[in-house]
């Protein structure tokens, strides 16, 4: 076995750790994202519709990004090099992003119908009015579920759909998150706790991969010394992982109960304002993108859309990676995003 001289590593390891900590302290942690935008409208309380101008005028249709309520959307615009939003603006699309904001106390009474049938619908209408064309919806994770619901209930608001890592079947065998949710009394939890705190929810997500997220992730931090770009990326991702809004109580309970426990999106039992959401009503051209090693949205959970959507113009892209890899990995930016951009340009 290799023997290291006693004390020889002390100085080096400490020096690198100190360097990393000092360099990290100098780096800004901006959660706005890398691409400039303007605030276009306020579709709901504390929400903002952002507009990212196209880099060149090509007459491309606007894209409305519908992000999940669970995290902040700057993962889509993490750095200039790794930005889904920048890839779309470079292709000439006016890009809109519905920033759900951070729910406040009274927002506990906002349900899925408010979020989808009203705020998202209002955002889509606003884009259509401003751009003269109904937008293509790009739904991310839970946001993809919202996009599907809007397309099913208000089809005229949507031109086409792109879903990224979006669960449709919440009862697939490998879905540990769903399994953990089955016996939770969501109504009791939200009536008692009000808006569900980000810390509590982050705890649940970390509990799905505690060894990787807590035991392994920080071990090689000293080795980022002298690599400011890598350290900056690391810190930005770190901030994104835990910069989570609280969850509006009513919407959270409805999503947990109707989607995770009753599988209502797949079974057609999910209702918004009394109207059932039938995936069979969706006839828009649809591109469904899923990750093959996704521990949050198993590939089967996303692929289920193919058997239930009404559209005859349906395509899939499988990405060989995990949930986050779809947004931030080099491979996704080199191989996956160009295919999504090409599909949108058709």
């Amino acid at each position: 076995m290799a023997e290291s001289p006693p004390g020889s590593g002390l100085t080096d390891w400490q020096r690198r750790l100190i360097e990393t900590l000092e360099q990290g302290a100098e780096l800004p942690v901006d959660t706005r994202g890398a691409t400039p935008f303007t605030l276009h409208a306020e579709p709901g309380p504390g929400m903002h519709l952002r507009r990212y101008a196209p880099a060149r005028s090509t007459g491309q249709r606007p894209v409305l990004i519908v992000y999940s309520l669970v995290n902040r959307p700057f993962i889509l615009d993490l750095t200039e090099r790794r930005s889904l939003i920048a890839a779309l603006t470079r292709a000439g699309h006016p890009v809109y992003l519905l920033d759900w904001g951070y729910p406040k106390g009274a927002d506990r009474f906002l349900g899925l119908a408010d979020y989808i049938d009203e705020f998202l619908a209002a955002a889509a209408a606003e884009v259509a009015t401003s751009e003269g064309a109904s937008p293509d919806l790009l739904g991310v994770c839970q946001g993809g579920v919202f996009a599907l619901c809007l397309a099913a209930l208000q089809p005229h608001r949507v031109h086409r759909l792109v879903n990224l890592v979006t669960p449709v079947d919440f009862h697939t065998p490998g879905d540990n998150l769903s399994r953990m949710a089955q016996e939770v009394d969501f109504d009791q939890a939200t009536q008692t706790l009000g808006n569900i705190s980000a810390e509590w929810l982050n705890g649940v997500f970390v509990a799905l991969k505690p060894y990787r997220l807590l035991a392994q992730r920080y071990m090689d931090l000293p080795e980022l010394a002298g690599h400011p770009e890598a350290l900056h990326d690391f810190l930005r991702l770190e901030r994104w992982m835990y910069d989570s809004p609280d969850q509006a109580a009513t919407a959270f309970a409805e999503f947990g109960r109707e989607c995770y426990q009753r599988n209502g999106l797949l079974r057609g039992t999910l209702t918004l304002n009394g109207r059932p959401v039938h995936l069979g009503n969706i006839e828009h051209p649809t591109l469904n993108v899923y990750a093959e090693q996704d521990h949050l949205v198993p590939a089967d959970a996303a692929r289920a859309l193919r058997d239930h959507i009404g559209s005859t113009d349906y395509g899939e892209l499988a990405f060989p990676g995990g949930h986050l890899g779809v947004f931030i990995s080099r491979r996704a930016h080199a191989e996956l995003l160009p295919r999504i951009v090409a599909w949108l340009a058709e």
């Binding site: 076995m1 009474f109 009015t129 003269g132 953990m180 939770v184 009394d185 008692t192 071990m219 080795e223």
Partner: protein
């Protein structure tokens, strides 16, 4: 510095003597790199620590059982006596609330102990798997043993995570997690009841009052939005959007026509 090099420095090794992998690494070093008596003793010691913690959990009333605890932990004959006594006299509401809080606390402690036990058993299985893994590698000339603390750490991480994943995928864990979540929220709810009652006595606004106000506010805003959506203005905006789309399509057709000519 190569990946993992900093991790093997002498300083971090000394710091890690207090961790399970640090203990195992020292034992592996003492055995000359191949698992032997020192490793066996180290694994035994770590297992004993986990067993001691597990034994401590079993002192929580009813923690050794699975499923929900009974309504309370008192003998069957005593429970109705206490329930009836709590309904007597001028302080019966307060007594009933306190009794409910006590039951919720028992249920929470029970659920917490059950979850902790499942996780400790998973950690114990992870240790068994790692020991087996090391022994198998030692007997197979095709396989190499970990030659650094970092390499051993990776083995521990991979084996422990695999065991944890099995736990996570089990119905036993899903049930225990659900019970703990529900017991926690029930306990919080019982504390809220107590606090609300105290504030009400002092004529101070309590949680119920805040929620009532917030609910009315949200309903008011919702009504306003729906009224606005029904306005003629909204209809006109949509008409304009549709017309713009038609104009855009016509222009595109005209451009295509020119190209064909």
């Amino acid at each position: 510095m190569a990946s993992g090099e900093a991790f093997d420095s002498d300083w971090i090794l000394r710091m890690s003597d207090a961790t399970p992998v640090g203990v195992l690494w020292r034992a592996l070093e003492a055995d000359g790199g191949t698992p032997g008596p020192a490793c066996a003793a180290a694994f035994g010691s770590l297992r004993a620590q986990l067993d001691t913690t597990l034994a401590g959990l079993n002192t929580v009333p009813g923690a050794a059982r699975t499923g929900d605890p009974p309504e309370d932990e008192h003998p069957n004959w005593l429970a109705p006596w206490l329930q009836t006594l709590a309904r007597l006299g001028p302080w019966q509401h307060g007594l009933e609330r306190t009794q409910g809080l006590q039951i919720a606390l028992d249920r929470y402690l029970h659920a917490h102990a059950q979850c902790a036990r499942i996780l400790l058993e998973s950690a114990r299985t992870g240790l068994d798997t790692l020991e087996q893994h090391l022994q198998t590698a030692a007997q197979d000339p095709q396989q190499s043993l970990p030659e650094s603390y970092r390499a051993l750490y990776e083995w521990w991480l991979t084996d422990s995570e695999a065991c944890y994943e099995q736990t996570l995928a089990s119905q036993q864990w899903a049930s225990a997690f659900g019970r703990l979540t529900n017991a926690t929220t029930e306990l919080v709810g019982r504390y809220q009841e107590q606090l609300d009652a105290g504030l009400r006595t002092l004529d101070l606004p309590n949680r119920d009052d805040f929620l009532d106000t917030q609910r009315r506010l949200v309903e008011l805003e919702r009504g306003q939005r729906r009224t606005a959506q029904g306005d003629e203005l909204a209809a006109l905006r949509e008409e304009v959007a549709r017309l713009r789309e038609e104009v855009k399509a016509l222009r595109a057709e005209r451009t295509a026509g020119r190209r064909e000519q």
